[in-house]
């Protein structure tokens, strides 16, 4: 119970910290707000178009690779869980990881020519 209490107190204090900072800022900072201060500048110029127009589409292959590897890593993790209590079945995991290691090295070599821009 005392641990749960400590976690609750800590969470409350952690959540209060940024609020205290905001409050301190309200008290300490000057209140003279003008429209000119809120204008955006890019290299000293007034920005043109919206920022989102420059989104690089060619990065999407990485998102697909991420999804593929995320599924694989979850599969590995669940298999690893199984051998915590039953180490005699570790051969299955050894085989799985052997295949995955070899295929990830092959994938790494194939990924060499993936287009990148940023």
């Amino acid at each position: 119970m005392s641990q749960t209490e400590a976690l609750i107190y800590y969470t409350v204090l952690t959540a209060a910290l940024p609020l205290i900072l905001i409050l301190a800022n309200k008290l300490l900072s000057s209140g003279r707000r003008t429209r000119r201060k809120r204008l955006s500048f890019e290299s000293g110029q007034v920005p043109f178009e919206w920022a989102e127009t420059s989104f690089p589409v060619e990065y999407f292959p990485y998102a697909i690779i991420y999804v593929a590897y995320a599924v694989l890593s979850i599969a590995v993790f669940v298999s690893a869980l199984a051998i915590i209590d039953n180490p005699q079945y570790a051969l299955n995991l050894v085989l799985l990881l052997g295949v995955l290691s070899a295929s990830s090295i092959f994938a790494a070599l194939s990924l060499k020519d993936l287009p990148q821009r940023l």
Partner: protein
Amino acid sequence: MVVPIPPPLDQVIRFVASEPFVKAAIFPGATFVAVLGILSVWYERKLLARVMLRIGPFHVGKYGGWLQVVADAVKFLSKEYIIPSRARRKLFVTMPMAALVLSALLFAFIPFSEYWVIYRSDISVLLIFLLLAVSPIPFIIAGWAAGSKYSFIGMIRFAFQVFAYEIPLFLALTGVIIAARSFDIVDIVNAQYAVPFIITQVIGFLVFFIAALSEAERIPFDLPTAEQELVEGWMVEYGSVGFLTIQLAMYTKLDALVFLTVNLYLGGWHGPMLPGIPATIAHPFWVFVKILVLLSIVLLFRGVYTRITMKKILDLGWRVLIPLALINLFIVSLTVYLPTLTA
């Protein structure tokens, strides 16, 4: 004659002196985390100054300009919090706060000894990974919400960097879990009583350490906030208390990752016996010694290494760290399987 303490005051004193409150508010809780964040900034400045043959903070504070960071914090708090006209106002304000809360919550599950931990959970490694996985999201949203091209490019870079390094981090953690046969960090540290995992899983340690550096956006992985080209990247529009909150969140996260590395790979609080000193003090002492060494290495990278390009960052994550993490897991699972053959 003893003056009796009035009951309401007595209750307040008992509450403040209670174990849960001391752990949550003082050590290893909120006060410790805040002081640690401030000291990390000061230590980085002094260390980098020595590397660059400068003095560093000097004038504010008697000993090594240690009050300079406090003075800077007061300066940030006294500045007007300007929200750009193109920004998504609510997200722009709330995301730095969310980032700080998520970063600080990591310390709730990181033990300094078997006793000095805010919340000891059977699945503390998973809870920490959950927080680590969620913690970049406020930064990404903050970069998007600022409504600037610089912050947007920084946000895109950060998102792809996090994508590339999250899976190696998770796979390296899995190796530690298999070796210790537990999700509890206290059990994981105790499993390293004889030999720390940095020796038995040196590949896993390298993968975890590099991925942690990337998660914390430290040089050479600080491309999302590249000062020279993107003028602080995704946080370019932030000033005043917003910038202060982000900095505090980033340094808190860095400290948490260093503590986590010490616990997972460097044997945590295990070290040579200190004669005459009880374990409740000796254990945190060894943690701090290891933290200081590892933090110094991490901070020194800023003075030693250059920033690497996005292509190299992504290449390292996808083409090097993931295969290495899988090979590490392969070796760890072999070390679990081979003893069962002889048994």
